[in-house]
Symmetry: C2
Subunit: 197 residues, 2 copies
């Protein structure tokens, strides 16, 4: 029977390797080397590199993304400050998380969206689900902001939440491109000091 | 001496193959097969796959992107309508261009930003230059909108232009992910019917 800790080690190592080098930029051999396990054991745990990719998206959402989607969702809805202050703090926390991993790695969800979507329906679905869950948390907080009179009653909070998450992903992609966090910081400033101010 | 049309054919074929499958999702062999030229001739024209990648970014900016950056820049500054109407028409044209290539291919600039930035300084610079040139055109039009009283005098038009281009790229990435243009159409609606309305 496969040992569970080997499976977890493969997911953890693959997350690091995929995040740094992209899904197509590494091989199963690279992943087992990084995990320090024999290649033969890989297929005891995963049917394919793609199946591992789906688990990596879930792990990124749950671990790095724990902050974003789970703990983040609680903070964004009931932390201190006004609803808009909480949404700003939430995106700022996402950006600090991104920077702490290394701005050159970008957001794994955005990376996989552009690299893998046409090639892997399963990975695409896992990434789309993660982005939808993230946008749903932001939409709830925007509804609170609307209720509090901070955002116009005319706003479509669901569309606006997707817009902000997409905008963050675009800013994270350019930050990755230039190796500089400025696009993400300007995303915050333009959103909260100008467009929604 | 290498024939110029072989070089152009390699760039054209590589653009198609990179756009559809990603830079790391194909080999030099795939590109020469697609171009219908012998592999030996590749290295008469390019030192490496990366050197070809830089030329592909330039070709995408000049061909597909001609619309966006060159012709687009003229239209956005002096076409019919108010400055904000012209900016909207410009992004709508970019979206139609994207859809006509196949929404699942995404924007080559955004794809390369997330796939290649940490691995190829030369390709990263070519992509960053293309995005900067695009944002500069949008910033000029936003300055016209500011002059016309359509956008607040408080706006940092350069930051706002980058914000819109990044937002478009994020929306294009999600459109690619889900195989549906809706995120790009909602980018237009949220930007022009709500945030800048």
């Amino acid at each position: 029977m496969p040992r569970a800790n080997v499976r977890d080690q493969l997911i953890h190592s693959a997350l690091e390797v995929f995040h740094a080098r992209g899904f197509n930029g590494c091989s199963v051999q690279d992943i087992v080397d990084s995990a320090g396990v024999p290649k033969g054991s890989f297929y005891n745990h995963f049917d394919s590199k793609e199946a591992l990719g789906v688990e990596v998206v879930r792990a990124y959402t749950a671990l790095v993304g724990a902050y974003v989607v789970e703990a983040g969702a609680a903070e964004i809805l009931s932390g201190p400050g006004t609803p808009l202050e909480r949404i700003r703090a939430y995106f700022e926390a996402v950006i600090e998380q991104n920077v702490s991993c290394g701005v050159r790695k970008g957001c794994l969800l955005g990376n996989f969206a552009t690299e893998l979507a046409p090639h892997s329906a399963e990975i695409a679905k896992a990434v789309a689900d993660a982005l939808d869950s993230w946008s749903a948390a932001v939409a709830k907080a925007l509804a609170q902001a609307q209720e509090a009179g901070q955002v116009s009653k005319d706003a479509d909070v669901s569309a606006l939440a997707h817009y902000l998450v997409d905008g963050y992903e675009g800013a994270a992609a350019r930050a990755k491109l230039i190796g500089d966090r400025t696009p993400m910081d300007e995303f915050i400033r333009t959103t909260f000091d100008f467009l929604l101010a």
